[in-house]
Symmetry: C2
Subunit: 652 residues, 2 copies
């Protein structure tokens, strides 16, 4: 491959993105200004308020191309697959429009459709797009007409199967799908201002409220999700019954009424949980719901459990990629320090669920640690879930592979593809958050933000080439007098950061906020210098699968060795020389310019191990040869030729 | 502890053992000369014939003390526990002698009793002992009187439960227990010449033959064992129906008739098996049975499957300790290269089962590789199953532990303790084997052997201090003219060996036989010098749990770091400097003089990892301190203060 200048390449990408962005502006529909993903603006216990997606206009080379592809490629291809697999037909069938029920499956295909609508809606807050808008509303129409007269909606339990409704809460995902419907409806309403889907949602929520509750059906769903969805529905409609219902669904759990297993977090009441266990997406969605409930109720017993689980997750059960869920069996969290690499589950949805939970914890507390975890999951374990083509996906995100794990256009099980699609357009809203006296700068990306600090318009321009480079410029300007602190996140991964303002430079340690407080009506420019250098990382010695090995990080990105970049040696047969420096170089992976790394080590032929499981070190050392290896960002792997990959490297 | 001279200590042990041995000689009962564990003397397809246990008189410091303890401590304490737990009462209950049925359990407590009888019988071939003999025959009497008139015997299915006999072959272990009865009976008969238990066995075998077979009950037991037992019963009685029955039990398996799961090797016909899967003891017992069947029938399709499974086991699924079974779940083999250390299952019984299988494969072929694997399992994964006190046991043998895994006096589940008890007295018979033209020297231990080479008495005296030292002297003398090859095993672990004979010294590579052929009536002395030095060992890079880490071996022994020997650093926080030598030193563990090792490395405080899962290497390196660590033989671990242990060590 002929090497082009990195900046040249980035400029090409940017121009392409910009051109497309321009085309979208001025679509036929009006944009509502309340495109807030988690609306804590009236939540009594939330220290921070989230900003709307459309308050931030991305202009960067990392996320913007993804968001362009989202509307150009991801949403259309996902729609097509939903048609091909009968997921939309299921709604037509339920509405009596077709006799074809081939798409029906007992699990949760409806949720794919809802997540897709949510993704489409949020994407319109990023950029108006008439085609996406039209398609989204066609799907909304199909959903609406599938609703029963009593408000029930789940395409599997129609006609003859009506009598089976609510009979197997543990496995049938009726409330789980309801939750995704509610989230889609809230997104649709917030972005478009239209209430068609919101009405569907509230009719169903009202039915659920009639059926479930203390003295009514005292049981909940095997798959958490409805809790956070109901609270957002409460926030959007003001209907307090939905909040109460969410509380009921949390309180009724943990008494063995849905099977009693760890797998579905029914083994203990939520407030007694100390470890994060069971199915990872379930556990993290439940925690997100509990965080929302805390935001509204201030029930401290919820926070106690959430903090214990956060500690357990971050200190013992999360992958370096921010991936969650060690076990194939049950798509579940493992024991403490059980973090296998090749057999990692680390479902894309679990990384997304973790982001949704961390974001809520951050809004509740304003504590930087939650964004540190969010950023890790976002740039690595979640982003790896979607291919650079914008239309191929990972359900499972292992940290080592022999070349068999490849991206797929969709999965039989309703899941990750529309989930990553709904996550991507949320990203602009993660960049900032507001408190009573501060604007929090959480994530970095070249962008223009139009914020509203207590009624005063504030613009923040970010310039820089994050995450490839740590030099960021923040230009802040309030329209009129407004004193507030700019709380600039110095990421925990950053060992050294310099913040320059007004001719003064201060050093700040990673994991802290650099605070610049003043009246911003005069404007101000903050120069941020985060040390982005490649480094080797060790894991806790109890993590058997990786103990004594090293991973590579650079900025927020975790790196891996892919076979395609290392023709001279099997990447599983590399031992690094950690005393030698890692050198950065520019590279294009498919269509994406990245900073790749080159390092030094020894390697051996895999053939040396033919028919042998254990060999004397001295014997092997004679067969070591000096090599140079190349590493690429983990999120970008498996976009080229199939081959071995590994995150954790031996030291030989 | 005051350090005494190693040789002094060994001398004390030896004197003690010798004294006891002398006391035993001249017991009240006669010893049969046919104490052969696997009697292939008439098996058409067996290249080798096993020798009787009592042909070898151990005089060494490693095994002999174990065999002394076996009769002094192990067998009596196990008997006591069998009484306390009602295992013997079960037989009395079945015989109508008592109404007490507290000991009854649905699984296989009967098999513990049978295994104990087998252990006692073989032990009498090592050393006559009137107390053991008397106790054994008392137990035999209890067994005999529990037999039903039709020959049935399994204490759970008595009285009201008679009608449930043979109704749940998958789970109820009726044929498994029968197998252990047959093995006990064969051992009892071979050693004592008495036929009381053999009659019980044949009556039951005759009943089983009436009930099971093509056109009769076409099903088998969920737990293999009866196959090899029936073939030994056939060898002992000459009754060909037992051989046919063993063949039937093998052929009927693998067609889903006992559940169809991998777990019980019922997913595929035996001859189609390519990987070793499922419950480890079941899989290895089945293979031992199939090897016996091959010995008698020469059915090559059996050998094809056995060879494939052997390759799969030894190249991908066995621990460095010779332990078998990676998974807690199902006590089972895992996938290829799935060899977790802390969660290793590596059941003591599975290592024993592996020894039983490897021994049979060796007898069939005369190939050294089977003894190499046998020796690894024997000195490490099996021997670790019994404490140095001779009365505490491991069911599970992990390769890493945090100090929670401790030896127990017995297990609720019938299993390992009497299995290790029956293995130990077999060891003398493993030292040699005979072919038409050679005597194979398999294992080393100071001893006197009286062999019979085609009717000519041959004595072999072994002198040396194996496994601590690799200098062995073999003095061979035939009573009259006898030309044969002495095939001296150079263990695969040995990188360099010198064999000196008749003033000539040759170097032989590990994994080969040194062959000395001549007429031995003149006598001859072979000087064997095996390089026994401590070395670091790597594992295949696909073994995620240990890749890039090193283990320590010295001779046939695998070493581990125990916390009790390393007060200055948590043994899980040690990184070794493999370029520095490992120094041997003498040490006594409880009552056992061993060669321990000391090496150099770096260590860090576990506290450095409080609340952190991943840390930059550079940051940690500042906290490394130089340390010296001490390692002890793996088999000897967990006999002193509880604490962390690890076999695989980081390199930092």
């Amino acid at each position: 491959m002929k090497r082009r200048s990195f900046l040249q390449l980035l400029a090409v990408i940017a121009a392409k993105s910009q051109a497309k962005t321009t085309n979208f502006i001025g679509g036929e529909h009006k944009l509502n200004q309340r495109s807030i993903v988690v609306d804590t603006s009236k939540s009594p216990k939330s220290k921070l308020k989230a900003i709307p997606i459309n308050a931030v206009k991305l202009q960067d080379h990392f996320w913007l191309p993804r968001l362009v592809d989202l509307q150009e490629i991801t949403l259309p291809t996902q729609y097509q697959i939903m048609e091909e697999t009968g997921r939309i037909d299921n709604f037509r069938y339920a509405a009596g429009k077709t006799k074809n029920s081939q798409g029906l499956r007992f699990l949760a295909p409806d949720s794919d459709v809802y997540k897709w609508v949510e993704a489409a809606a949020w994407s319109l807050a990023v950029k108006p797009d008439p085609k996406v808008y039209k398609l989204m509303n066609l799907v909304v129409d199909e959903i609406a007409s599938a609703q029963d007269e009593d408000g029930y909606i789940h395409t599997f339990f129609t006609f003859d199967r009506k009598k089976e409704r609510w009979t197997n809460l543990r496995d049938m995902h009726e409330l789980y799908c309801a939750g995704h419907l509610f989230q889609a409806a809230v997104a649709h309403h917030r972005v478009t201002g239209e209430d068609k889907l919101l009405k569907v949602a509230t009719r169903f929520a009202d039915l659920i409220d009639k059926v479930f509750g203390w003295g009514k059906k005292e049981v909940t769903d095997g798959h958490p999700e409805v809790e956070m969805a109901l609270i957002e529905l409460y926030r959007e409609t003001g209907e307090r019954r939905y909040l109460e219902l969410a509380k009921f669904f949390l309180d009724v759990r943990g008494h063995g009424r849905v099977g009693g297993s760890h797998y579905i977090q029914d083994h203990k009441p939520f407030r007694e949980l100390e470890e994060i266990t069971g199915h990872a997406v379930r556990a993290l969605y439940l925690n997100a719901g509990a965080a929302d409930l805390y935001a509204e109720t201030g029930d401290e017993t919820l926070m106690v459990a959430l903090e214990k689980m956060w500690k357990n997750l971050t200190e013992r059960r999360i992958y370096i990629t921010g991936g969650c869920g060690a076990r194939y069996e049950g798509e579940a969290f493992g024991r403490d320090y059980e973090l296998p690499n090749e057999r990692a589950y680390a479902e894309t949805c679990a990384a997304i669920a973790n982001i949704l939970w961390q974001w809520r914890m951050f809004l509740l507390t304003g504590e930087i640690r939650f964004i540190d975890v969010l950023e890790r999951s976002l740039f690595n374990g979640a982003l790896s879930g979607i291919g650079l083509d914008g239309k191929s996906y990972f359900y499972v995100n292992p940290l080592a592979d022999r070349g068999y794990h490849r991206r797929q256009p969709y999965f039989e099980c309703a899941c990750c593809p529309p989930n990553i699609a709904r996550l991507l357009p949320m990203i602009p809203s993660f960049l900032y958050a507001l408190s009573d006296d501060a604007i929090f700068v959480n994530l970095y990306a070249e962008s223009l933000a139009n914020l509203n600090f207590k009624g005063v318009p504030v613009t923040i321009v970010q310039r820089g080439n994050y995450p490839w480079d740590g030099e960021m410029e923040l230009q802040v300007q309030s329209e009129k007098a407004a004193k507030f602190a700019l709380k600039i996140r110095i990421p925990q991964w950053c060992s050294k950061a310099t913040v320059s303002f007004d001719g003064q430079a201060i050093e700040v340690e990673g994991g802290n906020y650099a605070v610049v407080e003043r009246d911003w009506s005069q404007g101000g420019k903050v120069q941020l210098s985060l040390e982005v250098t490649a480094k080797y990382v060790l894991c806790h010695p109890f993590v058997e699968s990786s103990a004594g090995r090293v991973a590579i990080e650079r900025g927020p990105l975790v790196y891996c060795l892919e076979q395609v970049d290392n023709p001279e040696v099997d990447v599983w047969c590399v031992g690094v020389k950690t005393e030698r420096p890692l050198e950065a170089f520019e590279k294009v992976i498919v269509n994406l310019p990245v900073i790749a790394l080159e390092g030094e080590g020894v390697g051996f032929d895999l053939k040396e191990w033919d028919g042998v499981l254990y060999r004397p070190l001295r014997q092997m050392e004679k067969r070591f040869r000096k090599i140079r290896f190349r590493a690429v960002p983990y999120f970008s792997w498996a976009n080229r030729d199939a081959g071995a990959m590994t995150v954790w490297l031996m030291r030989l």
